[in-house]
Amino acid sequence: MKKIICIWIPGGIDSTGKDGMSKEAGKDTRSVERQVWETQDGISRLARWANRYSPLVGFPESVNWKRELAAQEKRTAGKHVGTQYAHQPDPRAAAWKTEAIWLDVTDVCHYFGTVTKLAARISEDLIRLDIAARIAAASTVGASWAACLYLANPTVNQTVVLSTDQQDQAAVREELGQLPVNSLRLPATALDALARLGIVTLEQLIALPQEAIAQRLGAVVIQRCQQLFGQAIEPLKMIHSQQQYLSEQVLLGPIGGVQMVVNLFRHLLDPILERLKKRGRGVLQLCCKFEVSRYGQRIYCDTTANVASETVVASGTHVEQFTIGLYRPTVECIHLVSLFQLAWEKVGRIDEMYHISIEATQTAVMQQVQLGLFTEQESEQPVAGVCELARDQIPPRVLARLIDRLTSRLGKQRVSRPQLRAEAQPEFSFEMQVVVELDMQRWCNHVLRPVRKSLDASSGHAPPPTTQKTRHNTQRSGWALGQQLSIDSRPLWYWGSPLEIQCYTKNRTGAPVRLFHRGSWQQVIRSWGPERIETGWWRSRAVRREYFRVEIDSGQRFWVFRQLPTAQWFLQGNFG
């Protein structure tokens, strides 16, 4: 007979709170850990962990982690000021459809003694990981699930083992017969019909004629019954580890020198790139780990165990790790090597290296470009109407390389771009976006989209430099378009937050006549305004300002404002 262990990580069996903890879920300190298990990544990790006990780890077809997670994200998105008032989301409520994973331990349980011992060991392991779970073992998938949910004590990591011996099956059948029909994992419509017919327990259900049941409630009811009692096979969808693009080498002897490291990197990278090319994918993120020594001191570590290596890194010892993030997916070895070199320069003194591993932790599908006749020239010499050019005439590939290099050199947080926002308050009228975190597709569409200027170029007509339309378009996202905002009405440079300054004003108009700048009073020779901005009441107290553009005697122009009603003056920005 088969031996199946079912493990249920409480994400909520259903919203009725059978596990007795749902009311306190929001306050449960372990909810964060649980949420980790509820992600797609979580199930993979759970499966990897479960592989310690069995190579055959599966989950039912009905599990739909991604959809549940997406729905949860959608529900919590865009909360703005109201977020503080939001009810704390109950992670279990969001993942109530979460079922369980199964371990087929038929052929392996003898390594651990008995099924009972194995189940107990799994339970202990989970307790050690501080994960509340229900565990049950039975001879079928359905029986283990039913026992897990309806026989296990929900408050402790108690294990339930139904006998898998052939001679005990009658007793098991009797025990299962007392369970509610809900334990069959039936669709809601079938459960509703059964309730209306007064069929509550499995015993009552199996007493009914099978064909009639199938005709009325669907074949799934009979199928589930048969699967529960081992009369039909229930296949499991096995969880396989994800495709890894990993390459590593343990060095026989210590090596040193940059060039050798670079060569080694190239040597390890080539097979990864080859595999990626075959799949039409490119590297987006490359993680490099090295076991090194500094000042003659070496610390050995287990590079295969993430937790261990992280610990070592965290304590500042000699496992070096860096990640190369890319702006566009690539399979260009030269480019990656150059980025590696940039990153390596920041590592500092290395005396010896003992182990190196490279893994492409993020990959993406490469953009499919039709090969040109003269492929050598394709990248640098655009063909009219075919090649892509960014707005400022930089080929996208070159631009991407530049961004990659800058990101590698400066860090990804430091390579960003301003994005205009339609906001009246200048401080909020733009935001900085980290370039490598942009939505790739959108960014490509907006910035790297094909511009057919080359056609004009080829016909000998240069495109008009700034048409009325383009000028209008540049103004589109501003809030003051009804006012026909002129191009020079906003400064080129903004202060992150306005600087308080001193000003003398004219009594009649309120315009500044002198302002204190760079340690001395400057005469204002011209001013424009006031422009009134009153907004932002939903963020905090409303902003009320009177803006003036001023020109001082040195020719410099500033954008200053008077705060209302306090009449304090601030410098908002400089015109050039």
């Binding site: 008032y85 017919l197 009134r532 939903w538």
Partner: protein, 1053 residues
């Protein structure tokens, strides 16, 4: 400085303007503007409000509108004369009729073809792509541009000197540049510049509200309205010095505002309204024809001879009608009633029209003027330049026939439904503001659901706090402030329940007409108050459920007992009927079935028709607020002697024992005690009514007090009369109206008393109507010994029917049982039922299989019938019927080829037997009622262990005793006159229990009170005669104990 604001939106520019016409006018007056044009976008819905407010404030009001076009820049049209007004109405009607509800679609060509008399100002900002959009924020922001010379030239070419260019500055970034451009455009095209404000709200404090409205219009939060938001709060009415400063470069643009205002001398008071006159034959004038009809009717009404009083009244009324030219109006109403009667539709006039002898003689009303004291001035008066308002009730299921008759007879360009402005209520305001502020949907929902229907501000704070929204935090503070501002603001235009306006000429030249949401209906842009203000007549074709029920009763009595009855032939003064009424046994009876009415009946003990008239009128906010109820009851019970300051007052109040209970009496008091003319008295009543304006009431108050003091009455009495009149202002009945209703009260009570089965069947068949659910009506019928039979697929129709019980031999003593119709089963459709009824014919269905094959019933339909236990006639209980139903093909009714194949060959297996409690539970789930028992009876032992008594036990317990009762909540009522008291009716297996919940108890147990439908109540028993109440002290939620019962109580105000 002389400045007239020529471009200003009110809240009738829905989701754009953030101030009411009153606020705009008052601010304009305060700031010293000399005229104001309220220019709502593509609508004239708000002009009457503006006109009324401006007349009160003595400000020049310019009738105007902002128009948008698909192919041209928008403009503001200012009206200078009547013909221009008619053209604007026609143009807006055209635009509205060719667009979907709430939208307007016009082209420049339309403007040109209608605009011969228009004076217009072109709005410089526009966006070609957004003109058809419902919000003009697109125009202002998304891709707005300044008008170009070519567009402006088009206007100039077509309208020449009547065309201006609006110069609007809002302290933007490029005001000077913008002004330069406008000046250049003006010079280039020869279109003069005129200054205007493009006002969206009267005061800067409303800018936030405008942001919220913008967010609502665009379906986003205020955080995301950047592209549509105004950058500053400068769209308000600015002080004159600010305006002068803004336009100092072009002072002539300011002067032109006044020039335009001078040209626009048109006022809405110039509108003359004519009623259709074609109803009179060609050789006779309408007034002569009306007289002829009235006198003929009088002879029919009084076959024994017309009383002198009636003759005098009739002459007086006809004279006044002729003088005020209302004859065509009366003929129209007469025609309407004639049509209804010809179609066998029950109808009856009510309201102030019942004060008219003419209406009685024309058959519009049924109140005999010989028996009541009529005050014709309550209906029509010389002093009041307001139109009479005749309300006619029709059977609610057949009212549409009458409306379509009117459309057909007068055409859509002469008849239209009156509009209704739907305003934001507390709950909708909470939802909109919450959404706009970006609060989580579940939080907004929780706040909205936690609200009581009517709520004071303090309570809103409390309710917010209860669900986790802190009103002391900034966001909560903003939320509260904005909700208060939004409350009461117009949201959209909808249609009146039955008001029809009909004109002699084109209605579309009087007011724009637009499409209603309902097919076949067109609606005008004004509501009933607007029509009153302008003296435009309307006929209210209202629907009344009780008329349908009475008609059905008459039909059933004819069918089953061969008795023929009409409203007029029901025997009067039947003591059995009054006995029943005195016992408050009035569930389902018209008007006197509410908790308040039922508790009044044993105290008032009506014994004649006039007592019923008083009963109808006394339980109203007017008498209650005027503190008239208790004095009347005391005097009626002989505990207090009526006193009258003088004989004139005695004459007015004698019939009601010195207490004014009717509007007419209150008005007559003003006449006899304070020297008012009848017309003035009515003006006083109206001034205190719904459309009150500051200052007006005070004027009347002083006059009333002065008049009474002059006539030697005491100050105390004078103030008391004033309070009473104020109470009647809005919430009192005229005697004639109460008399009209009392007739229906008596008829329905007579039917219930003598034919309870017929009455119950008719009322259930006429649902939705009245206070009680089907379950309550069935329970009540069973208390009256009516046998109620369950729904059965072979014996029931869609409606409830009557079956003859054994025992009766002739029509007179034939006992009728009530068979529930299939309509009581939740979730089944009438067409499904009609199909099985059609196929049932004479041959009853023999099995579920037969029903599926012959009745073409779908599986889901059969399952619903099975759940409702409707297969008793072929010995199938719920579960076995369901077992068979489940075996049917899902869409068998569409597969005739498989008809001959039996779907269920096997026998029904032994399914678990349903327990009585389960049966009752299932009854409630499927039909909301059970004939098998009451949910509480299964819990009685447990309840008794907790010392809970039943409804019948309450009768035997002593007064003021502490008791515990339990039951299912039937209805909750919170009349606003009850000072926060909530009246609740509970039901247990023995009867009903009346609860009184004081305000603090309601607040304390709010969540149980609002959300739970089954309560255990601790309270004190209060007995006054036969009236038994339990004054609640504590509530406990029983719904968890009762399990899956989910009866829905009815909530009333």
């Amino acid at each position: 400085m002389n400045y007239a604001e020529l471009h200003c939106k009110s809240s009738f520019s829905f989701l754009q303007g953030a101030s009411s016409a009153d606020q705009l006018v008052q601010r304009a007056v305060r700031l010293g503007y000399t005229a104001l044009a309220i220019t709502d976008r593509n609508t004239l819905a708000g002009i009457v409000r503006g006109h009324g407010a401006a007349v009160d404030a003595e400000l020049q009001y310019i009738v105007a509108a902002e128009l948008t076009f698909d192919d041209a820049p928008p403009c503001v049209v200012w009206i200078r004369n009547r013909s221009a007004y008619a053209a604007l109405c026609r143009l807006l009607t055209l635009g509205r009729r060719q667009a979907s509800k709430g939208n307007c679609r016009l082209s420049f060509e339309d403007l040109v073809s209608h605009g011969d008399e228009f004076l217009l100002g072109v709005i410089p900002d526009w966006n070609r792509l957004s003109t058809g959009a419902s919000s003009d924020h697109h125009r202002m922001h998304a891709a707005a541009k300044l008008i170009d010379a070519a567009d402006l030239q088009r206007y100039h070419d077509m309208f020449g000197e009547r065309c201006y260019l609006l110069a609007e500055l809002h302290r933007g970034s490029a005001d000077l540049q913008r002004l330069d451009l406008l000046q250049k455009l003006s010079q280039q095209t020869g279109v003069p510049l005129v200054a205007s404000g493009d006002v969206y709200y009267h005061d800067p404090s409303h800018a936030r509200l405008q942001d919220v409205l913008t967010a609502t219009a665009h379906g986003c939060t205020v955080h995301d309205i950047g592209p549509y938001q105004f950058a500053n709060a400068q769209r308000h009415m600015r002080p004159l010095e600010d305006i002068a400063k803004l336009f100092q470069q072009i002072p002539q643009a300011l002067q032109r505002t006044r020039e335009i205002a001078d040209i626009c001398g048109f006022s809405l008071s110039e509108l003359r309204y004519e009623y259709p006159a074609e109803l009179a034959p060609t050789n006779i004038t309408p007034i002569a024809y009306l007289k002829q009809l009235a006198w003929t009717g009088a002879h029919e009404r009084y076959p024994q001879g017309i009383p002198h009083k009636v003759i005098n009244l009739l002459q007086h009324e006809l004279e006044l009608i002729g003088e005020l030219h209302y004859e065509a109006y009366f003929l129209t109403v007469w025609d309407l009633v004639r049509f209804a009667r010809s179609q066998d539709i029950l109808c009856q006039g009510r309201g102030s029209a019942a004060n008219s002898v003419v209406c009685f003689c024309l058959g519009v009303t049924s109140v005999d003027p010989a028996t009541t004291q009529l005050l014709f001035e309550r209906f029509i008066s010389r002093e009041r330049a307001e139109a009479p308002d005749i309300d006619v009730d029709f059977e609610h299921e057949r009212r549409e026939e009458v409306l379509q008759y009117l459309y057909k007879k007068y055409g859509r360009d002469r008849a239209g439904m009156t509009g209704v402005v739907t305003t934001y209520r507390m709950r909708s305001a909470v939802r909109e503001v919450g959404k706009a502020l970006g609060f989580p949907a579940d939080l907004v929902d929780a706040v909205a659901k936690n609200l009581d229907g009517r709520i004071a501000e303090g309570n809103l704070c409390l309710r917010c706090r209860e669900v986790g929204l802190d009103p002391d935090e900034l966001a909560g503070e903003r939320f509260m402030e904005l909700v208060e501002m939004l409350r009461g603001m117009p949201r959209h235009l909808s249609q009146h329940v039955g008001g029809m306006v009909i004109t002699q000429g084109l209605l579309s030249e009087l007011v724009p007409i637009e499409n209603a949401a309902m097919d076949g209906r067109t609606v005008i842009q004004w509501n009933k108050d607007d029509l009153d203000e302008l003296g435009i007549l309307k006929v209210d074709c209202l629907s009344l459920g009780m008329l349908s029920a009475i008609h059905k009763c008459f039909d059933m009595l004819q069918q089953h007992k061969n008795e023929e009855w009409t409203l007029a032939t029901i025997p009067a003064d039947d003591s059995e009927v009054y006995d029943m009424i005195c016992k408050a046994d009035t569930v389902g009876v018209f008007q006197i079935e509410s908790r308040a009415q039922m508790s009044m009946l044993p105290r008032l003990k009506p014994r004649c028709f006039y007592d019923l008239v008083i009963e109808v009128a006394i339980v109203r906010p007017g008498p209650i607020q005027g503190n008239m109820v208790h004095p009347y009851l005391k005097r009626r019970a002989g505990l207090e002697e009526p006193s009258y300051p003088n004989d004139a007052i005695r004459e007015v109040l004698d019939r009601t024992l010195g207490v004014p209970l009717f509007q007419e009496q209150a008005m007559r008091l003003a006449v006899v005690a304070a020297g008012f003319t009848p017309g003035e008295a009515d003006q006083l009543r109206r001034a205190m009514g719904a459309w009150r304006r500051p200052g007006v009431i005070e004027k009347f108050h002083q006059k009333l007090i002065k008049g009474m003091l002059l006539r030697g009455l005491s100050m105390e009495f004078a103030e008391q009369v004033f309070t009473q009149i104020r109470g009647f202002g809005e919430y009192g009945f005229p005697e004639s109206h109460a008399a009209s209703f009392a007739l229906l009260v008596y008829v329905s009570a007579w039917l219930k008393c003598h034919h309870p089965a017929v009455f119950a069947a008719a009322v259930i068949n006429s649902q939705p109507m009245g206070f009680y659910s089907v379950s309550d009506l069935v329970t009540d019928a069973r208390r009256h010994a009516v046998t109620v039979l369950p729904v059965d697929v072979n014996l029931s129709d869609w409606d409830c029917t009557l079956e003859v019980e054994d025992g009766g031999t002739n029509n007179a003593n034939k006992r009728l049982a009530l068979r529930l119709g299939m309509k009581v089963v939740h979730g089944i459709r009438q067409d499904d039922v009609m199909r099985i009824l059609e196929n049932r014919g004479e041959r009853l269905y023999g099995s579920v299989e037969d029903l599926r094959r012959r009745g073409r019933a779908s599986r889901s339909f059969i399952m619903k019938l099975a759940d409702a236990d409707a297969f008793s006639s072929f010995q199938r209980d719920r579960r076995s019927a369901l077992w068979e139903a489940l075996a049917q093909e899902r869409s068998s009714c569409e597969q005739p080829l498989f008809d001959l194949i039996s779907a269920s060959d096997d026998d029904v297996p032994e399914l678990p037997v349903m327990q009585p409690a389960e049966q009752v539970e299932m009854d409630y789930r499927t039909a909301g009622l059970s004939l098998k028992g009451h949910p509480l009876m299964f819990w009685r032992e447990q309840l008794a262990a907790k010392s809970v008594v039943t409804a019948t036990q309450l009768e035997t317990l002593g007064n003021n005793r502490y008791v515990r009762v339990a039951g299912i909540v039937l209805l909750r009522q919170r009349p606003f006159t009850a000072k926060g008291i909530t009246f609740v009716t509970l039901e247990d297996e023995t009867g009903t229990i009346n609860l009184v919940l004081k305000q603090y108890i309601w607040e304390r147990y709010y969540s149980v009170g609002r959300r739970s439908n089954a309560w255990l109540v601790h309270g004190k028993l209060e007995k006054k005669g036969s009236v038994i109440h339990v004054v609640a002290h504590r509530l406990e939620d029983l719904s968890a104990t009762l399990g899956k019962y989910n009866p829905k109580p009815r909530d009333f105000r």
